[in-house]
Structure formats: structure tokens, C-alpha cells
């Protein structure tokens, strides 16, 4: 985070991402879900949203853009009208010159024509959670009565495609899906899913991941990702974006002085609010967690408290001190610090029992193995015959991929 300083010389936070829980309720019951209140049908009050945005916009903590993610429950269980009203309120109250973007992360089961109209009109970034083909997806993503949700989710995805609504998918990888990269690739290709993100099922909150319990998870993930990348390169045009590869490339191949920050360890860079108006920061998952050492991770309530005074709260000061101590340990000890920036606080807490700690399985999987994959791929780039001629491109590479001018040989 690029920090400014206030009159007292204290760093001024910069909010880059607002995570809002419109409702904790979810219409499905995934085996690996850790959200504690997913059966609650509570809904954020319009006044709470007004209080949040009036305080955020007046805080001086914004730069020129802010992203809003509606999540931490299934956002589409609320009616479209709820979001139309919320978006108009935000438009009315936002400062001139501020760019606001909205994103939904959804299980996709409720996508219909009306939602597509809304997504298109409001240019909402849509992420759909689908774990691969039916036999893999339906192992974990179930209704409350225990039936698979694949058919409804894929129907939603097909409608997005038919309506030409841009979307990406996020797939939670299990031991079973990591063993079949080719089957996963074929599924996305056949469904016309071009932008994919992978998360490995994790241990967080009350959920204990079988994948993370497996000591071979990072080796399995490395094999999965490398084979998926190879397949994508061998059949260009099918998968246009693999988040994990693009991120790793971006972090590895950059100028030495390029700006880089880890939002997850920067105070208020990610600011999260639950349906009741409770505010938290750092890892958004902290919003709903309790811990013997810290109690909870709430900094106040937007309906009662001043946002700009929350950095003075004792629990914030303590949490920040511990998180920064953990980041310092990472900087000192970890070879991968420059691609990571100090890890993910909630995983440190869940896996190591303390923010003041370093490596986690989450680090190994999401940062280290993807970085290794890119580093190893770089080593295999063969020198061209002249040393400065056009590189060999994968067979069938489309012309549009050549988005740079060719050099003279």
C-alpha cells in the first residue's frame, strides 16, 4: 500500500477493496464451507450501507478507485432490486472522480435472465464457483438435502455465455481433482469456460481440509498446475487466463523497483463489513472468526462507531503489531518473500496458531509452487539460433497472442 501520512505523521490507510456481506445466508451447503452463519437469513439494512459508504467516502482513505465485492454468503439470494437500490445510493454519494467497481462471487445456481440484465447494465464482475465436471463438483457442493448442485450451476454458466456476460470461474481443488488435470481441462474447454482460478481446499475456521492434511498436497498441486498449463499452451485459445500462472508470471518477471504490496497485511487495504455493520480488516475471513487469543477481530460497528477512529482500537493495534511481526519474519526467512509480501494472516493463525509466524501450507501451494513452476519454465526456454531471433511459439498459437511487435532478427 502506498502510504500517506497525516498531520501526526501516522500512516493513512488506503482502502482498495470493500468486502460487503449482504446476507450470511447461502442456498447451498458445501461440505468445505467454513462460514458459521450460513443458515441465517439476516440481511444488511439500507441504513447500514448508507453509514458505511458515507463514512468510507468521507474518510480520506480512498485513492482513485475502489472495488466492492458482495460476498460472504450467497449474494444472489437477495433480489436484484436490493442491489439496484444499493448501487444507486453508492453512485449518489460517491465523490466525483472515484471509480467504483462491483463484483459478485456466486455459486451460480440462481442466475437467470433478470440477473444477466443486471450484470450487463451495471457491468458487474461475475465469478462463479464450480469445482469441475459433475462427478467432482457434486462431491462437495451440495444442497441442504444432500443433492449435487452441478446441474443448476452449469445452467447458470451457460446462460452467462449465451448472454455474453464476461465471467470467470473459481474451482476448489481436492485431492481427487488435482489428480485429473486433463479431465478438468477438457471440462472447461467443452463448456467454453476461458478464465479459471484455482483454490486448494484449506483448513480454516471449523473446516479441516483433507487436502491440506495430505503432506503431498503441494506436490500434487504442482503437478496439476503444470499439466494444466501445458495443456492450455498446447491448445491455445481454449483457456485464456489461469489466474495462478498469470499472477506468478507477474510477480516473477517485473522490474526490481516495481511497486508491490500484499493487501492482506496492509491495514484497511481490504475492509470488510458483515450484514450487521461490524468492521474488520486484513484477511476478510477474520470478520466471522473467533479466537482464544484475540477474542474476535471486529474493530467496531459502522452504525455506532467512527471508521476513522478504528485504527486506535486496542485490538487493531495488537493485531497489526502481530501481523507485521509475522511479515518481518517472512521477510527475514523466506526465499519467496518478494512474490508474496508476507503471506495470509488468517492462514498463519489457522495453521500455525499465531499471526507471528511464517510459512503455511497455503503459502507453499499458492505462492511457492506456482513461482517454482514459472522459474523452472524459464530455465527451459531454449536459446534461439541467433540468440536474438523470433522465439519458437507453441504449435497453433493464434496471431492475437502476438501482442508485441516482432523484433528484427
Amino acid at each position: 500500500m502506498a502510504k500517506r501520512a497525516d498531520a501526526a505523521g501516522c500512516a493513512v490507510p488506503r482502502i482498495e477493496l470493500l468486502v460487503i456481506q449482504p446476507t450470511p445466508f447461502c442456498n447451498i451447503e458445501c461440505r468445505y464451507c467454513y462460514l458459521p452463519e450460513r443458515n441465517s437469513k439476516a440481511v444488511v439494512a439500507p441504513e447500514t450501507l448508507v453509514n458505511l459508504f458515507s463514512q468510507v467516502f468521507a474518510s480520506g482513505w480512498l485513492h482513485d478507485c475502489v472495488s466492492i465485492v458482495w460476498h460472504a454468503g450467497e449474494p444472489m439470494v437477495l433480489p436484484v432490486a436490493f442491489y439496484r437500490d444499493a448501487f444507486r445510493m453508492i453512485d449518489r454519494t460517491k465523490p466525483g472522480g472515484l471509480t467504483v467497481t462491483h463484483s459478485f462471487q456466486t455459486n451460480g445456481t440462481l442466475i437467470d435472465e433478470a440477473w444477466c440484465d443486471f450484470f450487463a447494465e451495471e457491468r458487474v464482475n461475475v465469478g462463479v464457483s464450480i469445482d469441475g465436471p459433475k462427478r467432482l463438483h457434486d462431491r462437495n457442493r451440495l444442497t441442504r438435502s444432500g443433492r449435487g448442485t452441478f446441474d443448476k450451476t452449469i445452467r447458470g454458466i451457460r446462460l452467462l455465455r449465451r448472454r455474453e456476460i464476461p465471467f470467470h470461474v473459481i474451482s476448489v481443488l481436492s485431492v481427487a481433482s488435482m489428480a485429473v488435470p486433463s479431465e478438468m481441462f477438457d471440462f472447461y474447454a467443452e463448456e467454453g469456460i476461458e478464465r479459471v482460478c484455482f483454490n486448494v481446499e484449506e483448513s480454516e475456521g471449523d473446516h479441516v481440509s483433507q487436502s491440506f492434511a495430505d503432506g503431498e498436497v503441494d506436490a500434487a498441486y504442482y503437478r496439476f498446475l503444470s499439466e494444466f498449463w501445458r495443456l492450455s499452451s498446447a491448445m491455445p485459445g481454449k483457456i485464456k487466463f489461469i489466474r495462478e500462472i498469470e499472477h506468478a508470471l507477474q510477480q516473477v518477471i517485473r522490474p526490481k523497483d516495481a511497486p508491490f504490496n500484499n493487501q492482506l497485511v496492509e491495514p484497511f487495504a481490504i475492509t470488510s463489513m458483515d450484514w450487521a455493520g461490524n468492521i474488520s480488516t486484513f484477511s476478510p475471513e477474520l470478520l466471522g472468526l473467533k479466537n482464544a487469543q484475540y477474542g474476535d477481530f471486529l474493530l467496531g460497528n459502522i452504525n455506532r462507531d467512527a471508521l476513522v477512529e478504528m485504527p486506535q482500537r486496542l485490538n487493531f493495534v495488537r493485531m497489526t503489531k502481530d501481523i507485521q511481526a509475522g511479515v518481518a519474519m517472512c521477510r527475514e526467512r523466506c526465499e519467496y518473500f518478494s512474490v508474496c509480501g508476507g503471506g495470509e494472516p488468517v492462514n498463519k493463525l489457522a495453521e500455525n496458531g499465531s499471526f507471528v509466524s511464517t510459512e503455511t501450507t497455503y503459502c507453499r501451494v499458492t505462492k511457492m509452487r506456482a513461482t517454482d513452476l514459472v522459474l523452472n519454465a524459464l530455465e527451459r526456454v531454449p536459446p534461439s539460433s541467433s540468440g536474438r531471433t523470433e522465439p519458437s511459439l507453441p504449435l497453433g498459437m493464434p496471431a492475437h497472442a502476438r501482442d508485441q511487435p516482432a523484433r528484427s532478427g
Binding site: A219, S226, H247, P259, A401, R402, Q404
Partner: protein, 121 residues
């Protein structure tokens, strides 16, 4: 220094094809046989140099090539300079939010730089 030179050579091979092309090109070097991949008991990054050293050398090589004064003096290659500049711009270095160039609404900002939250959804 030799590491930086090595990576300067490697990067000169991949950068002219752009961000998308580089991803495809690098992906095409990945061995297909599963048994060629390391197991968890072996170092994943196989090179004898440390990961931190390799990352630092890559960034030095990138900076050396993107520095217009160094470029003019050392390479005299205007086309390569342009290729680097385009690469850099395509990925948005120099902008805190990064520039993904993802063909999505609103240029897809940074929230996808946050894989953890979405894990169980």
C-alpha cells in the same frame, strides 16, 4: 552477474511475444510426463541457485532492459525496447493496482489478486 546475464538472454527470448505469448511459450516448455515432476521430497525449483537469488537476478535483468539509458547504451535495439515497454504496460507495472488486461468489465481490478477468500465457494 552471470545469473542476470542468463535471465537477460532468457527474457529476450520470451518478451517479444508479449504477455499472452509468453505464458503460452513458457507453458509449452512444461514436460508432459507426470513422473518428470518433482515429488514433495525434492526441491521444486531445481536450479542450484536459491530462489531469492534467481528472482533478484530476473528483476535486475528486467530493470536493466527497461531502463532507457541502459538500453540505448548496451543494446542499441529500439525494437527490443519497444517490446519491453509494451510488456511492462500490458502488465501495468508502475500502477499499484496492476493492469491485468483481462477482457472483463472495468478492467477487472485487483480483487482477483486475493485467492484465499474464494477458496470454499
Amino acid at each position: 552477474m552471470w545469473l542476470q546475464k542468463k535471465y537477460a538472454r532468457i527474457l529476450s527470448e520470451i518478451l517479444p511475444v508479449g504477455v499472452v505469448g509468453a505464458s503460452l511459450l513458457l507453458g509449452s516448455t512444461v514436460p508432459s510426463a507426470a513422473n518428470e515432476h518433482p515429488t514433495s521430497s525434492q526441491p521444486f525449483a531445481a536450479d542450484k541457485d536459491s530462489v531469492a537469488q534467481r528472482l533478484a537476478a530476473i528483476r535486475e535483468a528486467v530493470s536493466a532492459t527497461t531502463d532507457p539509458t541502459k538500453k540505448a547504451a548496451e543494446s542499441g535495439d529500439g525494437d527490443l525496447h519497444l517490446a519491453w515497454g509494451n510488456w511492462w504496460n500490458n502488465w501495468g507495472w508502475g500502477r499499484p493496482w496492476g493492469g491485468w488486461g483481462w477482457p472483463n468489465w472495468n478492467n477487472w481490478r485487483n480483487w482477483n489478486n486475493w485467492p484465499n477468500w474464494w477458496h470454499n465457494w
